[in-house]
Symmetry: C2
Subunit: 199 residues, 2 copies
């Protein structure tokens, strides 16, 4: 069998998402075989740094090393609009389109009664605080296109009804480049329901 | 963009085999989000331990925390037979069949002139030393079933010709449970060449 320390490292790798025994073995084995000591040292330092410095932005909930994240700090961004997402990764996905210059709000998940996640488990309260800002005009809810994401969108839109702001939901429909014959029924239904007049 | 420390951790993960940008992001992100500080601490400790304690067995080249590995230390194992493999992972694969109780020799790769790997780059010399042991009766070469593995097998068998031991090569043929129609030509050819009489 492998030495104990290697077995332990395999177990650590197995805790990562989608990593089973075989893949974890492959990673750990590669690491002890092909990495220089200095490479492992750098890996350790990077883990240390992440453990010690990364926290949630106190305004929007995105990841940051400071109290406030890059996006909230950036004075050039449009403060009249907030996109609400589930996870920090969603922020990066929206940034990649390079067309959105407003602010973000990261919930840290979606409402899911089955998993015991209610509004109180999410970064929701600070969103309602932010919604009171006079500069804010619109909240775009960009939660996932599934039951939990939809429930979260409905909850937020109801909670913000009393504020004098527009609350919108990103569109459901056919992904760009896709063929109708390969789309599932719910997507086609939503695409038809969400049709727009051609002018 | 993500905080610098998270970007660095993503880069560390990207150095692992088969891990691209997306997967590395997923791992790093999961780690800062879902791991407790104590989990990350344990991960760091496991990396530290591997970096500091794991070395090659001075006899066979397998991974060990001591000078000599578990298999070489084990006095109950059959000292008359050595299986020669390319990598420590191969040892574990052979152990899993639970039918082999001899010793191992790990080369650390295969002869590959294209990649600048000759016999001197491999753990070869100590194999030839071990072949002189009077207790040794047979060396089974279990290198990969490809050009490099085959070249390595031929090199070793020639080098051991002068010793009074049997040198064998594991069989090429159809994998158990496979269908002929899905097998490649070389495998079928080798399976036919390696046919055995039914008695």
């Amino acid at each position: 069998m492998y030495p104990k320390s290697l077995e332990n490292l395999i177990q650590s790798f197995q805790r990562l998402p989608g990593v089973g025994k075989k893949t974890a073995e492959r990673y750990a084995y590669f690491l002890v075989n092909k990495f220089d000591k200095s490479d492992i040292e750098r890996f350790i330092q990077n883990l240390e740094l992440c453990k010690n410095t990364i926290k949630r932005c106190s305004v929007c909930g995105f990841l940051t090393e400071d109290d406030v994240c890059e996006y909230c700090k950036d004075t050039t961004r449009d403060k009249s609009i907030i996109v609400v997402v589930e996870e920090p990764k969603d922020v990066e996905a929206i940034e990649r389109i390079e067309k959105y210059h407003g602010l973000y709000h990261v919930l840290g998940g979606a409402i899911s009664p089955l998993n015991g996640v209610g509004p109180d488990e999410l970064n929701m309260k600070s969103l309602f605080e932010r919604a009171k800002e006079p500069s804010l005009k619109e909240v775009i809810i960009a939660t996932s296109a599934n039951v939990e994401g939809e429930a979260t969108a409905i909850f937020i839109s109801r909670a913000l009804q009393k504020e004098n702001i527009k609350v919108s939901r990103i569109a459901y429909g056919m992904p760009v480049g896709s063929k109708i014959e390969y789309s599932d029924e719910s997507t086609i239904l939503r695409a038809i329901e969400g049709r727009k007049e051609i002018k």
